[in-house]
Amino acid sequence: MIFDLFQARAEAVSAEVHRAPDRAAALAFINEFLRAEDLAPAPGSWAIWAPGPLADALDQRALAANLPGLSFQVTRDLAAQAKVGISQAQWGLANTGSIVADSTQVEQRLVATLPWIHLAILPTNAILPDLPALLARIDPTTALYTTIVTGPSRTADIERVLTIGVHGPERLVIVCVDDMGEVG
């Protein structure tokens, strides 16, 4: 099973993998996740959600009203003080447990690089087997900036001790959604 391999490989590099049967379940998970992270409209406690097929289809105003501290506006200043960044990935890579996002739009980069936690939504059926499968699908004429992310930011530069969370997120949470509905 391609998902099982994806999950095993992603978890082996300290990513957290969750699976939701559909959009509603994914949204419920995100809702609960943000509450558990003590989301609040204060620097260091808020969340920013970058545009994407799922985000664009949401009633953003209602959701933000329900979750104080969640913003669909993504700026450099907000990102620099965000606890959680949310985005949607295009693809997964099973044999490395990676997610892949066309990050040409700067919002995609801000939510995935600056916050402590990066939560990525991934359509389960977009998990590709491996890197060669991905390279065959990337179109560099439009995707000017693409990132493959495999687990959270890490270093072993001091005494070779693996330490998570250097310059990028120290948690990578992947929510795989089996049925994305019309926004897939």
């Binding site: 490989r9 590099v13 700026t75 450099r76 620099a80 890579l93 044999n95 490395t96 447990g97 990676s98 990050s103 040409t104 739009q105 700067v106 980069r109 801000l110 995935a112 690089t113 600056l114 890197l131 060669p132 390279l135 065959a136 990337i138 560099p140 004429t141 995707a143 000017l144 900036y145 693409t146 990132t147 493959i148 992310v149 495999t150 687990g151 959270p152 930011s153 890490r154 270093t155 072993a156 530069d157 001091i158 005494e159 070779r160 001790v161 330490t163 969370g165 250097v166 310059h167 990028g168 997120p169």
Partner: protein, 710 residues
């Protein structure tokens, strides 16, 4: 060799952190690398990497033009620079034009190659390295000791001290806390910088794409937060097509850090929007700095295949002792030696090339299939050609090229050594020669060399005939080993002859770069060994076997003596090492190895030339098992023992600790007998054990077989 270099070696060896950290890492690396490559056909993968990179190296100019056309069509600016100075000028001018005050950098070897930071700093710019290891090194005012792990030589305590000074607060040596401090400090720099400078791991011509890999995520910030991004790319990073990046991205993280993939792989194909909505000011500098010249060199083009994984450092028995401050310059270790000779200057590699002991570990693991030891050999040949040989070198070479003189000197030495000899060993020599016996006893030179003793041996006829090539060590130090070889072959119905015209195989001259001298040895030996028709030319020394089988041909070809190559090839075809021949004879049923009774447990030491050049390691183990010996494998059985021919004379201070590790592993195996197939390793290991006062026997496979045949 400069005294200064020897002093640096001593300092590195005396640094317990350096040796400790590198040693532990290197020991763990073999296993973690193997795990990362689980389920992957490494030979197939590296053949693809070598093919992709090798092909690209043949078309660098064309690929650079295609890359530039693609990415500049999307708005990037591409500057092709020949020299380091042009790169530095371009970046400084760009910075000044845009009023840049602060620069953040992600790791770029190309920028280190041209000493960019110093240049920008001189002109008033603030430059911050953002890779954690590089930042530590920058703050410490040091040089990276390893290409992938720049600060591996520093302890957490030292890092805490370095950071404490930077942030003006007393920090504990808690690694996660230190990492958080770096994040906090560097985050401000990321957000405040006007220019980001990166390197690139790959540049794809067909699509105009830069690929940058990191684990920390710093390259993404460097390429996103400042409005100007400058990528410095050595033109050897170019490949033709995007799908060709797959084998490189598959191999690089596994070989470098034993990861399936690094945390971040970023592909940039043009200026993406900045955080203020403006388009990125993207500059790509394609830097040559002698890479085109290298690509045009039939030997050294291969080195452009390097993907900078540093696995050649991690498996090197010398690097793990002295580290990159000694072994290398900007680029370190085996490949670093070669790159230094080109990107800096040949002269600069003069000292460091000598550090390669030629064990071949790096050749085995290189994911780009670069024959690093062979290229270092080639450096030696070019250095030898470039510089006049010293009088003492000339004297030595003229002796080894004159068999009669060489052998009569050895006979004279056999007499002169008498006052120092005891039980077959020389344990102490007069002070001026004292270094030679400091860490290992030397074997005595035999009173009667094998070439004389052979005449007194019974020489039974057989239906097959072998010419025995003894090599200097067996002939003059271990004639009894040679007699064992003869005995085993005789038992298998093979008649053995000893051509008296044979002489040194040329290894000492060859490995010093004196190829003309080695070719002289080759000619003499070819004449001696092909004078009589034989079925085999057998040697019990792997280094000699490699010479006869491979290197004579190369020496003659490269010194233009093409007329002799046919005879060299004939000799090569007949040449076989002892264990391979005896295994074949035993398999044919010509030699019955009945399991002996009450034999000692042995641990087998794999000699570098036998295992890695000749690919022989199962044969001796199999033979010894058939003869009833029980094996107890030691840790790192195929790690070099530190002998390396004249290496142990040139660098006794390095040879000694390499040997010490070997002896520790021998002792830890629990066996009281070391089996091996090389008289050089025998000399080193037996001498070391004698010096330690440990009674563990060391025997050549031939001797152990001869014993059970009694």
């Amino acid at each position: 060799m400069a005294g200064e270099f020897k002093r640096q070696i001593q300092a590195a060896l005396a640094n317990p952190n350096m040796a400790g950290a590198l040693g532990r890492f290197s020991e763990a690396y073999a296993a973690s690398r193997a795990k990362a490559y689980e389920g992957i056909d490494f030979e197939n993968l590296r053949a693809r990497v070598a093919e992709v990179k090798g092909r690209a190296a043949g078309h660098l100019d064309e690929l650079a033009a295609r890359f530039a056309a693609r990415i500049s069509a999307r708005g990037a600016r591409v500057f092709r620079a020949d020299s380091p100075q042009e790169v530095k000028d371009y970046i400084l001018e760009l910075a000044q034009k845009h009023g840049v005050k602060s620069v953040v950098k992600s790791k770029s070897m190309a920028s280190e190659e041209i000493h960019l930071n110093a240049h920008l700093k001189e002109h008033g710019l603030n430059v911050a390295e953002t890779d954690l290891g590089e930042w530590i090194i920058q703050l410490a005012g040091q040089r990276p000791s390893h290409m992938v792990m720049p600060a591996i030589h520093l302890t957490r305590q030292e890092v805490a001290d370095i950071f404490s000074k930077e942030v003006h607060e007393r920090l504990e040596s808690d690694i996660p806390r230190l990492v958080k401090v770096a994040r906090r400090e560097l985050r401000e720099k990321f957000l405040g910088a006007e220019m980001g400078i990166s390197g690139a791991n790959v540049a794809v011509a067909e699509t105009g794409t830069l690929i940058i890999i990191t684990n920390e995520g710093n390259a993404r910030l460097v390429t996103t937060l400042p409005n100007i991004h400058v990528a410095i790319v050595g033109i050897e990073k170019l490949i033709e097509k995007l799908d060709e990046a797959a084998p490189i991205l598959t191999a690089l993280p596994k070989s470098a850090t034993s990861q399936l993939l690094t945390s971040y792989v970023t592909m940039i194909s043009g200026p993406a929007p900045n955080t203020d909505g403006s388009p990125k000011e993207l500059h790509v500098i394609l830097m040559d700095n002698r890479r085109s010249e290298m690509a045009a060199d039939p030997k050294f083009r291969e080195a452009l295949q390097c993907i900078r994984c540093a696995s050649c450092l991690n498996v090197c028995p010398v690097f793990r002792l002295v580290g990159g401050h000694v072994f290398g310059d900007v680029y370190t270790g085996g490949i670093g030696t070669i790159l230094t000779a080109w990107f800096d200057q040949l002269k600069k590699s003069e000292d460091i090339q000598g550090l390669c002991i030629g064990c071949g570990n790096c050749r085995e693991v290189c994911p780009a299939k670069i024959d690093i030891p062979a290229l270092i050999q080639e450096l030696r040949r070019r250095l030898d050609k470039e510089q006049p040989r010293s009088l003492s070198q000339k004297a030595v070479y003229s002796v080894v090229n004159n068999r009669g003189l060489f052998h009569s000197l050895l006979r004279a030495a056999a007499k002169a050594q008498k006052p120092f000899a005891q039980g077959g060993f020389i344990r102490h020599l007069p002070a001026f020669l004292g270094g030679l016996t400091e860490f290992r006893s030397l074997p005595t030179i035999a009173e009667t060399p094998l070439r004389d003793r052979f005449k007194a041996l019974p020489r039974p006829k057989g239906d097959r005939k072998a010419a025995f090539f003894a090599g200097c060590l067996i002939d003059f130090a271990y004639p009894e080993l040679g007699e064992a070889v003869v005995k085993v072959l005789n038992k298998a119905g093979v008649e053995v002859i000893f051509p008296q015209g044979q002489t040194c195989c040329g290894a000492p001259a060859r490995y010093s770069g004196a190829q003309d001298v080695a070719a002289g040895n080759a000619r003499d030996n070819i004449a001696a060994l092909t004078a009589q028709k034989v079925d085999y030319v057998v040697s019990a020394c792997p280094t000699c076997t490699v010479a006869l089988k491979h290197e004579f041909i190369q020496d003659l070809r490269e010194t233009g003596q093409t007329g002799e190559i046919g005879a060299a090839q004939e000799l090569a075809a007949l040449t076989v090492d002892f264990s391979t021949l005896v295994k074949a004879l035993a398999d044919e049923g010509r030699l019955e190895l009945k399991p002996g009774q009450g034999l000692a447990k042995f641990t087998y030491h794999d000699s570098c030339h036998l295992k890695r050049t000749l690919g022989v390691w199962q044969e001796p183990r199999e033979l010894l098992a058939r003869a009833g010996y029980e094996a107890a494998e030691m840790f790192e059985s195929d790690m070099c023992c530190g002998m390396g021919g004249s290496y142990s004379l040139k660098f006794p201070e390095i040879s000694a600790p390499i040997l010490a590790r070997k002896l520790d592993n021998v002792e830890a195996s629990g066996a009281r007998l070391v089996a091996l197939d090389c008289p050089g390793c025998l000399m080193q290991i037996a001498g070391g054990l004698d010096k330690r006062g440990v009674t563990i026997k060391v025997r050549h496979t031939a001797q152990l077989l001869a014993e059970v045949l009694d």
